[in-house]
């Protein structure tokens, strides 16, 4: 016999208006910052240039940070070695681009795009494979031990940086972007670099694709559930360890992709570039909320925009602007804007 639930079963809790506003508040921060930038800068053309530049920078940081936040959320692993994948990705990708100079040096959109695609694929394949090896050799023996994780992953980062110098030499490598990505377009009196526009579009497409995978596929569901309660996911019959390895490899490949994009953005690469970027990447992961891809996306845009606005308005403050942002957000929400994993 089946006993139906009684009519007076508790009803779905309706959130109050302030609670609903508080829930979407992180989403409003980006437009609020853009408006603040517009009011502070005064000149529309400067504001537009800085905004596109900030969004492009934010998108690239998001690409580098998205894998790290999932890795932390899924298996509670703090991976300082993530920066190594950024550097290796940049070196492999830029090497591929330099080898394909005959494609990048001509003003042909088709050849330029093909060269960039080849560079991106090469970088992602190498950093994905490197990530797989890094997880097996360095991360796996230290599951559950945060201090050891920090020590061995920093060690791994240093070793890989030294290996980059052995393979590519100690000097920085300068490069020029493919012909069709050079120059700027003019819009509303503002000169906007083509590459920055491309980075914004590419970052947006990647974010939407990532959201679709996480929201609409079973593997995405497993990842999201695993970030919240890995033990329960295993009790339902899923091998979370395999999922984690997959996420680690994908996160490493994305870091490699971010490295190629950042290298093309700066037009110079160094072995230590990944390590330098990790400061911003960690800020984004922390203010976004551990384990949250959406939080990392919003955090990355805030970091990118704020850095560009402050560098224009008060250059001396640019260096501390992101640390100040992190402090302010953690005072407002100690677990980050959209935490999935509760602080341990």
């Amino acid at each position: 016999m089946t006993t139906a639930a009684p009519d007076h079963a508790p009803k779905y809790a309706q959130l109050s208006l302030p609670d609903r506003i508080a829930k979407v508040m992180p989403l409003l921060l980006v437009p609020l910052l853009v408006i603040f930038g517009f009011l502070s800068i005064g000149s529309t053309s400067s504001w537009l240039t800085l905004t596109v530049s900030g969004l492009a920078m934010g998108m690239m940081i998001f690409i580098m940070a998205s894998g790290l936040t999932l890795v932390f959320g899924l298996m509670d692993v703090i991976n300082f070695g993530h920066g190594a994948f950024i550097s290796v990705g940049a070196y492999v990708g830029i090497s591929a681009l330099l080898a394909l100079e005959s494609w990048t040096g001509v003003p042909s959109l088709l050849l330029n795009v093909a060269a960039v695609l080849a560079a991106v694929i090469a970088a992602m394949c190498v950093t994905g494979a490197l990530g797989w090896g890094f997880e097996r050799v360095i991360v796996r023996p230290v599951y559950g031990a945060h201090l050891k994780q920090i020590l061995v992953t920093v060690g791994g980062l240093i070793v890989i940086e030294q290996l980059i110098q052995v393979v590519w030499g100690p000097d920085e490598i300068f490069l020029t972007r493919p012909e069709m990505l050079k120059g700027a377009v003019t819009f509303a009196g503002a000169a906007i670099e083509k590459y920055r526009l491309l980075a914004v579009v590419f970052g947006l497409v990647l974010f939407v694709a990532m959201r679709l995978v996480l929201k609409r596929t079973k593997i995405g569901l497993i990842v999201r559930a695993g970030v919240q309660n890995g033990e329960m996911v295993e009790a339902l019959g899923y091998r979370l360890r395999l999922v984690f390895i997959g996420v680690f490899v994908a996160g490493s490949a994305l870091a490699g992709l971010g490295g190629v994009m950042w290298g093309l953005y700066q037009e110079v690469i160094t072995a230590g570039m990944g390590e330098e970027m990790m400061i911003l990447v960690f800020i984004v992961v922390i203010i976004g909320g551990l384990g949250s891809v959406e939080g990392a996306f919003i955090g990355a845009l805030l970091v990118g925009l704020l850095q560009n606005y402050v560098a224009f308005l008060e250059p001396k403050l640019a260096l501390i602007s992101n640390i100040a942002l992190m402090t302010a957000i953690l005072m407002w929400r100690p677990q980050g804007m959209m935490p999935v994993v509760k602080a341990k």
């Binding site: 016999m1 089946t2 006993t3 139906a4 639930a5 009684p6 007076h8 079963a9 508790p10 009803k11 779905y12 809790a13 959130l15 079973k218 569901l221 497993i222 999201r224 559930a225 919240q228 309660n229 033990e231 329960m232 996911v233 295993e234 009790a235 339902l236 019959g237 899923y238 091998r239 979370l240 999935v340």
Partner: protein, 240 residues
């Protein structure tokens, strides 16, 4: 009597420096409900978590359907046919009710006939199908937790205090669903502090104390012997 579905022999489990299970010997018959009873802190939850594999037994033997599973990882135990409803319900609160159920069907899409049965047992799940599970009430979360275990056919269900903190009306819904599950031939190992529910559902019972099974037998025998209850658990069912 048919072969037992689950046998624990001399199971010892440590959690950090604490030696919690100190030689558990337990047999769960095939079909029906076995109640695992005892005071708080005697090792009931640890026993269930050791069976599903969240905590590994330090020594002893765990046999499911006659096969040794002592060192088997948790996902393999689940795929072998063991369902688990933890004490904290283990709901994925940022996922919708629908997404929680889709995940519960690990071997393929949700079975419409089973879903029909689940919706009949727990109508609120249909109402809040697309709502975030974290916004459900405590009783609805417990319904979802049990429904998730029911989404696929399992041979053995490990259920930890499903009526804890729930209103009497919801408890009756839970009891009805568990009775349904039992009628379909499933075996259930149920930890329960509510003696009225234990008495109504249990076929057999095992009582734990200090990390060991100190009594095992028919539930009816335990329910009818106030002295035995007093001696084993320091309680009398007549009081409940």
């Amino acid at each position: 009597m048919s072969d037992p579905i689950l046998e624990l022999s001399g199971i010892h489990t440590d959690i950090a420096q604490y030696h919690i299970l100190q030689g558990v010997d337990l047999t769960v018959p095939r079909g029906g409900v076995t109640m695992l009873l005892g005071r708080n802190g005697v090792g009931k939850t640890t026993t269930l978590r050791t069976i599903i594999g969240h905590w590994q037994a330090k020594s002893g033997s765990l046999r499911f359907n006659g096969a040794e599973i002592t060192t088997m990882p948790t996902p393999a135990r689940a795929r072998a046919g063991i369902g688990f409803v933890p004490e904290d319900m283990g709901i994925f609160s940022d996922l919708t009710v629908e997404e929680n159920m889709i995940l519960a069907a690990a071997s393929g899409p949700l079975n419409p006939a089973r879903m029909q049965w689940i919706f009949e047992a727990f109508p609120p799940l249909k109402t809040f199908w697309r709502s975030e599970a974290g916004n459900l009430s405590g009783g609805q979360k417990q319904m979802l937790s049990i429904a998730r275990a029911m989404a696929e056919e399992r041979q053995l269900y490990l259920i930890d205090e499903p009526t804890k903190g729930l209103a009497p009306a919801i408890i009756s819904t839970m009891a009805g669903a568990l009775r349904d599950l039992k009628a379909k031939g499933a075996s259930i190992l149920l930890v329960e502090q509510n003696f009225a529910v234990a008495k109504a559902l249990g076929d057999t019972a095992a009582v734990m104390d200090d990390g060991r099974i100190v009594w095992a037998g028919e539930m009816a025998e335990l329910a009818s012997d106030a002295d035995l209850q007093e001696r084993l658990m320091g309680l009398s069912m007549e009081a409940h």
